[in-house]
């Protein structure tokens, strides 16, 4: 066969597609599904702008064949805000000037969300290590690290309120 069948759930919506088996996941998300929030940067696995979550874990969508993602659950930046309300991580990036041009931001967010789920109280070193595969040419990283730390705190207090 020269087309591959891909059944994907993207941000909770099921899709059944036939794709060119050479295509990386990032192109299918952008061109077939119109989800252009995931950015195509270097296409060599370096810059991290295309980061999405595949079955919960952050991956670079330019290094994964769309066909390989058959059966997977994909989360992209479009699924992060709920009903027009920014996620606490998005709000923290906004509040702390964690982006300028914004090209890297969707990838930064998807990587950081994976970190915060695995490690709800990271220190600055853990945040820097987690973001090592995401390049930003504007901010110098410092405000991004601060925003992730602030978001971690916000999410923890949110959880305390819901638990209590």
């Amino acid at each position: 066969m020269t087309e591959a069948r891909v059944r994907l759930t993207v941000n909770g919506v099921a899709h059944d597609l036939a794709v060119d088996p050479r295509l990386p996941l990032v192109h299918v998300l952008r061109d077939a599904l119109g989800l252009t929030g995931t950015h195509a940067g270097c296409l060599t696995g370096h810059c991290g702008a295309c980061t999405v979550r595949l079955d919960g874990r952050a991956v670079k969508a330019c290094t994964v064949l769309a066909a390989s993602a058959d059966g997977a659950r994909v989360e992209t930046i479009e699924g992060v805000a709920r009903q027009g309300v920014l996620h606490p991580l998005q709000q923290a990036l906004w509040d702390r000037f964690g982006f300028q041009c914004g090209f890297c931001t969707p990838g930064m967010i998807m990587t950081a969300l994976d970190l915060l789920e695995q490690q709800p109280a990271p220190d600055a070193a853990a945040v820097r290590e987690a973001l090592a595969g995401n390049l930003c040419r504007c901010t110098g990283y410092q405000p991004i690290v601060e925003a992730v730390l602030a978001a971690a705190e916000a999410l923890r207090s949110l959880r305390r309120r819901t638990d209590g």
């Binding site: 020269t2 696995g45 330019c62 290094t63 064949l65 390989s68 090592a132």
Partner: protein, 297 residues
């Protein structure tokens, strides 16, 4: 350019059957970290894609034993890494880091971020055989054996004869690497991996993997030293290894080891990242550091 045929078998038997029928023109994709960027750049145009990422039977780490009612990890036997075990699986495994600290060292110094570790597989790193990769050289220092399966049966190839050139290995086109076997370390064994790179996401300029076996009094009985990113294939340096065997490891024997490393590298890689003389010099430094670090453990 017509699209390649695509095959995504769900069992190893099916995969070997299909691979055997495709001749020598199939491109095997596991985690995709090496192959997919090459395809994106147009540097690789497969005629057939053999996607093995769904072969869950090839993912996992074996070698645990229950002794005296207590779960202990890797007390005696070899460790088996399934070819599709991810870097994250290795990093998270309880007990593996204590037994093979150089693997933990290598993962910590690997560029690309957690995304690459979540998706990249140990088998993919071995079969890609890029000189700048960290895992092949660690497995060479550990005397690992690669298990290759084909329709005709199974071959066991030691790491020392697996890497033929940059990007070229002893794997035949109709074979799959299914597992990596790491023999048990003798008592007193320890290890370390040290590398030089210019930025967090930069490629290895020179890397050194060291495995030492020492007596309780500190005398070194056996040393293995393997270098990454210096030659086109991972390389053991026997003349340098012998510099630290037979005595306690100290400043003098480490200095000799560094000099012998530099002498032994005939034709270092020379590219935009680093000229040959610099690579040679740094290989000596990394070798000294790796052996010193293993000796301090």
């Amino acid at each position: 350019m017509t699209a390649p045929s695509y095959h995504a078998p769900r069992s190893l038997d099916d995969a070997l059957e299909i691979l055997g029928s495709l001749g020598d023109e199939a491109t095997v994709v596991a985690g995709g970290q090496d192959v997919v960027p090459l395809m994106n750049q147009g540097r690789l145009a497969p005629r057939h894609i053999m996607d093995i990422s769904h072969l869950t039977e090839l993912r996992g780490i074996a070698g645990e034993a229950t002794l005296g009612g207590e779960r202990r990890t890797f007390v005696h036997g070899p460790i088996i890494l399934g070819a599709l075990t991810t870097y994250t699986d290795v990093a998270r495994h309880p007990g593996l880091g204590a037994r093979l600290p150089l693997l933990t060292d290598a993962l910590r110094q690997m560029g690309g971020g957690p995304q690459v570790r979540h998706r990249g597989t140990v088998g993919g790193a071995v079969c890609a055989a890029q000189p700048v990769y960290d895992l092949p050289v660690c497995l060479l220092a550990l005397d690992a054996v690669f298990i290759l399966a084909g329709r005709e049966g199974v071959r066991r190839i030691p790491a020392s004869s697996f890497f033929l050139d940059a990007g070229r290995t002893a794997r035949r086109p109709a074979e799959l690497l299914t597992a990596i076997e790491i023999p048990p370390a003798p008592a007193g064994g320890t290890s370390a991996y040290v590398k030089l790179k210019f930025s967090e996401g930069g490629y290895t300029i020179a890397g050194a993997a060291s495995v030492l076996v020492r007596d309780p009094d500190g005398v070194c009985r056996e040393a293995r030293l393997a270098l990454a990113a210096v030659s086109r294939v991972p390389q053991r340096i026997p003349s340098a290894e012998s510099a630290v065997v037979g005595g306690r490891i100290g400043a003098q024997s480490l200095a000799t080891l560094g000099v012998r490393v530099e002498e032994a590298i005939a034709d270092p890689i020379d590219d935009v990242m680093a000229p040959a003389p610099y690579r040679r010099a740094m290989a000596g430094v990394m070798a000294r550091r790796a052996v010193a670090q293993a000796a301090a453990r």
